[in-house]
Subunit: 287 residues, 3 copies
């Protein structure tokens, strides 16, 4: 079902539109299968484990906003190309896009946030098909999906504290709702990468599949999802979102929200970013 | 403790009252043990894996409302007769009771809803003793209990999307609170039946017991529950309900609530119901 | 990192101040390591499995309030001395401090409550290092921490119903948020002690470590925590607390809050307390 051809005209268009200018910084594009019932959204940044550039976040929002209105659609798969889901935000862009307070606010609220919200707001079931590293922003995309089917070789983490920045509100809400506060704290305060077995035990993924069976299990899951009545699935998804309180929980005061960007003014963040890019070990001083 | 005799006079009465007219559509009745400290509520629909008819939902509400005022009571067990907990709502009644918008609203809010609420509102510890299929409305009853002790041969699911209808708000709130949104989505969007090991891993049951030890473990659990001070147990149960937010979370607008019954106007639901009753495979068209 | 010397001057002072008068009823004191980056808070009540006396709860609050303002601090460890985390409140004090309605209100809201709140409000990552029994008030301290690293020989429970009293609101909120309502009910209604494997499966601890590896794993965890930028960790911890809703959830009416102390007026509580102290089995009558 989730083979890559034939792509829909819309997907072809969006591939052509964005392919040229953004190729160097990765692409997100959409293919269709199962007679148009299933869309597969591909995260692709070759040689970078699909690190999510600003262009990819925007394309993710565009692709999801485009398919959201499609009444034919019954399921969406989000997956990475070439042995990774996504290794996180593309940090090589951070000097330019994620340094000053205004930049980081815009990056998390608009660039990344619009991508995540588009995934969350998709009215049909969205399955994160995870095979390989699923880290940082990649993990956040996975939490915004409805189901997470992962191969055993997958791995999971949000080690942003090691680069020197905290989790932003929307992203925190996604991780928090999926795994609870204790596990969210563990991911963030320790910055450790979890093996897939631990991710399953802690509720971060719905299903853990042996590597060689993963593609088949994804297919079987899609068949099960597509054999439910589309209206029933959309409505069940909607009512669970309403009752979950995830949207209410994010109501922060202006001051609270603004304090989430304080890190941009710390020396430690500049130091952490520099250390990440130069592959050295930062010596944080709490300044 | 949970042997079936001697039944209390109230239970005997309720058995006689309802036994005659509802026998064909299943029965719910109550027996007493442990000197009146323990009530066992039996779900019984022979040959139908205890499929829950409208009469059984009403009897469930009646039985629980009757025992709620009993100051002697220390624990309630809910269990099925004959190798099943309950296989779901009795779909054979759906053409008559669960077709039009008015019918489905009444079925979920009043018939099923009053049964579930009576279980949830029971002031003493309620244990779902699960041995066999625990599906749909049966699973929802289990989620409304305080503890779930299941045998290994038990199985769990809410495959209502395959019949063409979504989960109703109260039922969604029960499942959501117990297993979280990701697992609730998995149950509903995939419609897969979970083996007991998976139900345990995902928090749907408190305890997984080998088939041959299950009855003994249930007894031991009851003894532990009954050796706590009744006032302490009632108050602990009450404060956890207050703090859980489950009651607040269901505050939907009239329009939101009404949209939960839209499925009654879809062709897919008519098709799904017909397919279920004729044991064929529905071809949903999203209409 | 968490070796006991060299203690900070503040810790030395607080040790001297409280050591003399409270020695018989246990002590809580603080040592520093890792150049002042790591504080270890010790629960110590020799021969009593670190049962938490009123003096220890107050010292816990004092120690945490003292270190809360320390900008140098990057992590706090809470651990017990001598083969236990903490076996619960010191019940031998209950006749004097936890009998009348006014006493129990004060005990839970002020004595125990101020201790728990001080742990919860600590701005830096707090790790409960659990090796041995972690029961009642001890378990509640562990739930107020951010991470819980436990050895395999550890055990967990809240068997207060067997002594005849229910869980108080703040304590209920801590347990509820960590393990969810079903598991909180199981701990309270059954009063069973969980082995560490079950505690891990149910999300009560983050990590389960073989006894001989536990000290090393604690050290490795601290190193990981200390290699994240302090500001990032503090802010991530803070935003997850804001979004968790744990503080809103405790908003009870005066009447609801007051009803939590009704147990002080029951004969069963007097009976349960007496039975605990005389090591007999209480016969609760629901009076």
């Amino acid at each position: 079902m989730n083979d890559r051809q034939p792509a829909s005209p819309a997907a072809m268009r969006s591939r052509q539109n964005r392919g040229a200018s953004k190729a160097a910084a990765g692409r997100v594009w959409c293919s269709r299968a199962a007679g148009g019932h299933v869309a597969t959204v591909w995260l692709s940044h070759p040689g970078r484990l699909n690190a999510l550039s600003a262009g990819m976040w925007k394309a993710l929002a565009d692709v999801f906003n485009e398919i959201a209105a499609d009444e034919l659609l019954r399921a969406v798969v989000v997956r990475g190309e070439g042995g990774a889901f996504a290794s996180g935000a593309d940090i090589t862009e951070f000097a330019e896009l994620h340094s000053s307070r205004d930049q980081v606010r815009r990056y998390h609220d608009e660039i990344l946030g619009e991508g995540l919200r588009a995934v969350m707001n998709c009215p049909v079931p969205v399955i994160a098909a995870i095979d390989g590293p699923c880290v940082g922003g990649g993990l956040e995309i996975a939490t915004a999906c409805d189901l997470r089917i992962a191969s055993r070789r997958s791995s999971f983490g949000v080690p942003i504290g090691r680069i020197g920045f905290p989790i932003a509100p929307l992203e925190a809400a996604c991780v928090l709702e999926l795994v609870g506060r204790a596990n969210a704290l563990e991911l963030l305060l320790e910055g450790r990468i979890w093996p897939s077995e631990e991710a399953y035990a802690k509720g971060l993924i719905n299903r853990l599949v042996d590597d060689e069976d993963w593609e088949r299990e994804l297919e079987a899951t899609l068949q099960r999802v597509c054999s439910c009545a589309p209206h029933a699935s959309r409505r069940s998804k909607w009512i669970l979102r309403q009752l979950s309180g995830i949207d209410d929980r994010q109501k922060l005061s202006m001051g609270q929200r603004e304090s989430c960007w304080d890190f941009a003014d710390t020396s430690d963040y500049a130091k952490g970013l520099d250390a990440f890019l130069t592959k050295t070990r930062p010596q944080f001083k709490n300044d």
